[in-house]
């Protein structure tokens, strides 16, 4: 028997719809959308599951992002101070400052003269300034206060920074809150590891639940797959609409999850504003960054696609 497309059959064969540019792809998308409409219940179930799974995952990410942001804020406190035995003259100071600023990791460097140091101290003792009476005005040393950039505020990085700082001529005594930095670093790495482990478990759970749901829904439609195969549909012709359906379900689920997440975030801000009577916008509560939202969407699509692909393997055996 000839396997050519054109057989000399009585029936006149119209052109393949794939002959027009993109026609074949158009067919697949139309079929997928029709399938969704005809299997509304099953699709709602799948999209709902994906939404729920990704919502839990993204809520976790939201909490994580904010805790990390908060920790970053605390780390502003990490400050390296260079003390001078005697107040440097302006030229030496300018020279030194520019060298410090050139070090990688420096956010900014601020000179505090003896007078300023004393004034600051006096400020802190407000109401009890009398205690300072009789002290020499140069009792406190002049210093250069250095703030570090993000990512340079943990133990190892600070240590490395300080040893580079000490190589600059004119820098003798350097102090920073070692104990505090150490604790902060421990906390940060604990948080990262916990976050990673928890995140990995959540992702695994979501993947398992979603792929099983998709498997069930495809199982429920095996008649469709069987008929397509019995009337001569090729493997990919049968599969592609289901894969597109999976991608649509995945994106719909991800978008819904992001929408709900934003709702939750907004509602929370609103309530926090009312209850704690501060301006929520200034509270430092941030939403997921755009790249993460895009990543979540891509993850949803991939979940739908791979979930369908693996499930179809069991039901389409040609």
């Amino acid at each position: 028997m000839k396997r050519n497309k054109a057989t000399n059959r009585a029936l006149k064969r119209p052109k393949l719809s794939g002959d027009a540019g993109g026609g074949r792809f158009g067919y697949f998308v139309t079929r997928a959308v029709m399938n969704i409409r005809q299997n509304m219940l099953v699709n709602t179930l799948t999209v709902g599951t994906i939404t729920l799974g990704l919502l839990i995952l993204s809520l976790f990410l939201l909490v994580y992002v904010n805790v990390e942001g908060l920790a970053e804020n605390w780390s502003e406190k990490v400050q390296v101070t260079v003390y001078f035995e005697s107040e440097p003259d302006p030229v030496t100071l300018r020279n030194l400052t520019s060298q410090v600023e050139a070090l990688s990791g420096t956010a900014n460097a601020k000179f505090v003269s003896k007078v300023e140091a004393l004034n600051r101290f006096r400020e802190r003792l407000k109401g009890q300034e009398a205690l300072l009476d009789g002290l020499a005005p140069d009792i406190l040393p002049a210093s250069l206060e250095i703030r570090l950039k993000k990512g340079h505020r943990e133990s190892a990085a600070v240590d490395a920074y300080v040893s580079r700082l000490k190589k600059i001529p004119g820098v003798a005594e350097v102090q920073y809150g070692e104990e505090w930095v150490r604790r902060f670093s421990t906390f940060m790495s604990f948080m990262r590891v916990t976050g990673l482990v928890l995140g990995a478990f959540l992702v695994l759970a979501v993947v398992l639940i979603v792929s099983n749901t998709i498997k069930l829904t495809i199982y429920a439609r095996q008649d469709e797959l069987e008929i397509m195969a019995l009337v001569g549909g090729t493997k990919w012709f049968i599969k592609i609409p289901f894969l597109i359906e999976g991608i649509i379900q995945g994106s719909a689920g991800a978008l819904l999850a992001e929408l709900v997440l934003f709702g939750v975030y907004f509602a929370f801000l609103h309530n926090a504003g009312n209850f704690l009577s501060f301006n929520p916008a200034d509270a430092g509560l941030s939403f997921l960054p755009l790249e993460w939202l895009a990543g979540l969407l891509a993850g949803g699509m991939l979940l739908g696609l791979l979930g369908s692909l693996t499930s179809l393997k069991r039901f389409v055996r040609i």
């Binding site: 119209p14 019995l230 549909g233 090729t234 055996r317």
Partner: protein, 222 residues
């Protein structure tokens, strides 16, 4: 057109569903496959389009040994067949148009051509007014004819009909038989599985008898 040489087939387990079956059905022939319930009629017909593979033996369709086919070739084999299943296998959530059109859809026909062709075939069956119904809202006999329409819409080389008159009244059964005969006249090889003796008497044709998985008579062309 269809030739089987010493074919065995088993569903797993030691009992063979088909035992040493050899037969030949010529191009353009019209034959009945008959036998008691459970004899193996459906099993035999399912072999022709590789719904399952034989455990032993050779099956030639139009001169090609299909038992050697790779999975990717099977869809193209099946496009030469029209099959009416004993249980219809209509998709409940698709319309009649889509159910019948699916045969053309897998060939890549576009919507408009499919609609035109399906309407034409439904008219032959006297069911053109049901084109937008779903199968649940059709009677058993109507579903039967929709299944027949799906099998014939592509004017297949071979038509396999498993109990096509199973639950039809006499008038409708006659209508179905005349559709099968017309297809046969247009050149389609027709194989009808049935245990309805009445049908064999009324529309006499060559008969292949299956008994407990063996061909007991009529395996070769008379």
């Amino acid at each position: 057109m269809i030739r089987l040489n010493n074919v065995y087939m088993s569903y797993g387990g030691n009992v063979a569903a088909l035992h040493d079956v050899s037969l030949h059905i010529a191009k353009g022939d019209f034959v009945y496959v008959t036998g008691a319930s459970g004899a193996g009629k459906t099993t035999l017909m399912r072999l022709f389009y590789l719904a399952h593979a034989p455990s032993r033996g050779q099956i030639l369709i139009d001169g090609q040994n299909i038992t050697r086919f790779k999975p990717a070739q099977i869809p193209y084999l099946r496009r030469d067949f029209g099959v009416v299943f004993q249980d219809f296998k209509l998709l409940p959530n698709r319309t009649v148009l889509e159910n019948v059109g699916i045969t053309l859809e897998v060939l890549g026909w576009n919507k408009k051509d499919i609609a035109r062709r399906v309407n034409h075939v439904l008219k032959q069956m006297g069911l053109e007014h049901k084109v937008n119904s779903t199968p649940q809202r059709l009677s058993g006999g109507e579903q039967q004819r929709i299944a027949l329409a799906r099998a014939l819409v592509n004017e297949p080389k071979i038509l396999l009909a498993d109990e096509p008159t199973g639950n039809l009244d006499e008038a409708t059964a006659n209508q179905v038989m005349s559709v099968l005969k017309e297809a046969n006249i247009r050149g389609t090889t027709v194989v009808v599985a049935t245990h309805d003796r009445h049908l064999l008497d009324k529309h006499p044709r060559r008969v292949i008898m299956v008994d407990k998985g063996r061909i007991s008579e009529g395996g070769d062309e008379a």
